[in-house]
């Protein structure tokens, strides 16, 4: 049934210099796979592999899809839910991120959105409202094992902070198993590359932010690994000349002060880059220093 609704699941193939660009739409983003080959059939095959995997992840982990596993887990909050190996592994990763960030990166924090609507308006919620919701936030409150998961009623999990990056890394993994040719996977600005290009040329990637002027777009040169970008683009609140960013401090429930508008981080894998970019933003004014101290390559826009 769910397949009927998703009518526009097509992969387009466009020739470009040195290869083909396969594009499709998934996880609310334009997704592209750039493949350096003159074999169109192979490029299409690889594009389909990436797209099918992205759509699979979307169907399984999107909180917007009422048929997804994520929705099922949220609906069954208060009960013990059975989970599969992949979900367990995602929980394990989230758990590591939670630990590494000392609680700042929390996949149960999405529920705070009920208080905060980052629509550019001045609609700042009441302290009481935020505090009430904070009772339902906290990865430390859930329990899980290899095949089960439990959180208390009212809590929600959200893979939004990881899903796209995970899909990028999965695409890299699957395509590299099938073909030994250079390619780039870009899902809405979260991207990874694989293989050595002709003449060892790097991939040049422009990362644009719709709300900023073009001169501020980040040009990234990439030979290996991944980059991911976190930022608040159009997502903020303005009240009394104060810009509330959409980056929330999970401990207080209130926006982080003075984060960069956008931060792009390089890491061996996209899911690492994504986490680091988010974690950096949470540091607010200290974002760049934090990355510098960790010796992590990054580009920031303020």
């Amino acid at each position: 049934m769910s397949n009927m609704v998703k009518g526009d699941r097509v992969v387009k193939c466009l020739a470009r210099k040195g290869g083909f660009t396969l594009s499709f739409f998934s996880m609310a983003s334009l997704c592209e796979v750039l493949i350096d080959t003159d074999n169109e059939a192979l490029a299409t095959e690889l594009g389909l592999i990436a797209a099918n995997e992205a759509w699979r992840i979307e169907d399984k982990y999107s909180r917007y899809d009422s048929n997804s596993l994520c929705s099922e887990i949220n609906e069954k909050a208060g009960e013990v839910v059975e989970i599969d190996e992949e979900t367990f592994n995602l929980f394990e990763f989230s758990n590591h991120c939670y630990d590494m960030s000392e609680g700042a990166f929390d996949i149960t924090s999405g529920i705070l959105r009920k208080a905060w609507h980052f629509d550019g308006s001045d609609n700042v919620p009441s302290k009481k409202c935020v505090e009430a919701l904070l009772q339902l936030v906290g990865w430390g409150k859930v329990s899980y094992s290899v095949n089960s998961f439990f959180m208390k009623k009212g809590m929600e999990i959200d893979f939004g902070g990881l899903g796209k990056e995970y899909a990028v890394d999965r695409a890299v993994l699957l395509i590299s198993k099938v073909a030994n040719i250079p390619f780039l996977v870009n899902y809405g600005g979260d991207l990874a590359v694989h293989g050595t290009r002709k003449n060892d040329d790097p991939w040049q990637v422009g990362i644009e932010h719709p709300s900023f002027d073009a001169s501020q777009s980040t040009l990234v040169t990439l030979r290996t690994g991944a980059v991911a970008t976190s930022g608040d683009a159009n997502r903020f609140l303005l009240k009394d000349n104060h810009r509330y960013s959409h980056i929330l401090d999970v401990v207080t429930g209130w926006p982080v002060k003075n984060p960069p508008n956008s931060i792009t981080v390089a890491a061996p894998q996209c899911i690492q880059a994504g986490f680091l970019a988010t974690l950096a933003l949470i540091q607010g004014v200290d974002a760049e220093n934090f990355l510098k101290e960790q010796n992590i390559l990054h580009w920031s826009i303020r």
Binding site: D36, T37, D38, N39, E40, A41, L42, T44, E45, N52, E53, R56, E85, E86, N89, L90, E92, F93, H96, C97, M100, S101, E102, A104, Y166, D169, R170, L173, L174, V178, A179, N180, I181, P182, G195, T196, R197, K198, D249, V251, V256, A267, P268, Q269, I271, Q272, F275, L276, L279, I282, Q283, G284, D286, F290, E293, Q294, N295, I296
Partner: protein, 427 residues
């Protein structure tokens, strides 16, 4: 917010965390489809044997990791093969192995028997599946038939993974049973080849006196023990020990040996005779190393047996991928063996006949090398096409036997050149 433990190495911790996630095997619409490999290979020796071999192999992997492989091989052999007799400065006449007619060899030429043409059909099947945790078992069978030869075999293998599948120990056993039924029957070992007028009424009687039956058989037991070890992300190593014992008829009924006088002149041709037991030990080591620019496949094999044959085989391949998915793979192989203790290029007429003797250069002292190149390309949809061209050179050597008389003037150990051409298509 600020991280208290700012100095923790996030990069290292993340690597561990994300690798655990991406190393996982999420179900990606597994398919149960057949994968086929087809190949046609042509082997051609200069002025001698040529063979064409065609293979179609199908592999089906089931969702629970069970694998079924079936393979059909058909090959056709034509041309001339050395019969074992020495070259002479004079023309020579030999009786065909079937007893039907004779063939002549020019002065100075290596005696070749041109009666060989045979077609072989071979069927192979193998079933492999996981069993319990960490175990893989495999059983298979093989049957092949040609005009005068039949072979059937069964094999079984058990492998166990240790240490996160980084180490695999395996043990296997195979049993084979072969029957040879040459046209003209089995020659009596060390009897003299009857050379004369085959239309003579007495010829058949004389020929039949050199025969002891219509068929012979041999059985082979192979044991194989192996260890495979992943060294690091780029490198894997395999070490095997194999033991093989053959009992039964291992003589080549088509091979003879020249009995020569003091001047090296051929006086008679005797049918060869080999021991009916042979035990071999082989040690095989292989490594594959993934460099940034390609993949090295290097192997070495040492074999020793109770026929006193020792051999060393070195094999190197280096696969160089191109950015368009094509690849090129140069290949170099080197082989050297010592002679079987009963190998002799000829027998001196006035010396006592040995129990066992063969002049087959393939069990004499021999060096060979192969150089080749393979070129492969993906055709899309997972189909692949590859071409292989190799040059194979054999240098038979004397095993210390002194040539006498006229044999000093002729080429006793003629070198062999062969070309191997192959096309493989996988879909």
């Amino acid at each position: 917010m600020q991280l208290k433990a700012k100095k923790t190495n996030l990069k290292a911790m993340l690597t561990t965390a994300s690798c655990a996630l991406l190393g996982s095997t999420a179900n990606v619409s597994a398919q149960e489809t057949w994968q086929f490999d087809t190949a046609i290979m042509h082997y051609a020796e200069v002025d001698r044997v040529s063979a064409t071999e065609a293979i179609i192999a199908g592999t089906k992997t089931f969702n629970n990791d069970e694998v079924l492989s079936l393979k059909l091989t058909i090959d056709a052999l034509t041309g001339a093969s050395p019969n074992g007799a020495t070259t002479q400065p004079t023309p020579q006449t030999f009786t065909r192995p079937s007893g039907n007619g004779q063939y002549n060899v020019k002065a100075g030429d290596t005696p070749l028997d041109d009666t060989f043409h045979d077609t072989r059909v071979q069927l192979t099947g193998q079933w492999t599946q996981p069993l319990l945790k960490d175990y893989t078992v495999s059983v298979g069978g093989n049957f092949s038939k040609e005009y005068d030869y039949m072979s059937a075999s069964l094999n079984g293998n058990v492998a166990r993974d240790f240490n996160k599948k980084n180490t695999t120990l395996s043990a296997g056993m195979a049993y084979a049973y072969d029957v040879i039924e040459p046209e003209g029957g089995i020659p009596k070992p060390l009897s003299e080849m009857v050379v004369g007028d085959s239309n003579d009424p007495n010829f058949n009687d004389d020929f039949n006196k050199t025969r002891i039956g219509s068929d012979e058989s041999k059985s082979t037991i192979d044991l194989l023990f192996g260890v495979t070890q992943v060294i690091n992300r780029q490198m894997i190593v395999q070490l095997n020990y194999s033991y093989s014992t053959v009992s039964g008829y291992m003589t080549d009924p088509f091979k003879i040996i020249s009995s020569v006088n003091n001047n090296g002149e051929s006086q008679a041709y005797l049918y060869e005779n080999r021991p009916d037991e042979r035990t071999k030990h082989a040690f095989f080591g292989q490594t594959k190393y993934h460099f940034d620019s390609g993949i090295l496949d290097a192997s070495y094999r040492y074999m020793t047996d109770d026929w006193q044959i020792d051999s060393h085989t070195f094999d190197f391949r280096y696969l160089i991928p191109f950015t368009n998915g094509h690849f090129i793979e140069p290949h170099f192989r080197m082989y050297t063996q010592s002679a079987a203790e009963f190998y002799q290029p000829f027998i001196a007429q006035d010396e006592a006949k040995p129990n066992f003797v063969s002049a087959d250069y393939r069990i004499g002292e021999l060096d060979t090398y192969t150089v080749g190149l393979k070129y492969g390309m993906p055709l899309g949809d997972g189909n692949n096409l590859s071409f292989r061209l190799e040059y194979y050179h054999q240098t038979p050597k004397d095993n210390g036997t002194q040539a006498i008389g006229v044999l000093k003037e002729v080429e006793l150990y003629e070198q062999v050149d062969a070309i191997i051409a192959q096309v493989t298509y996988s879909f």
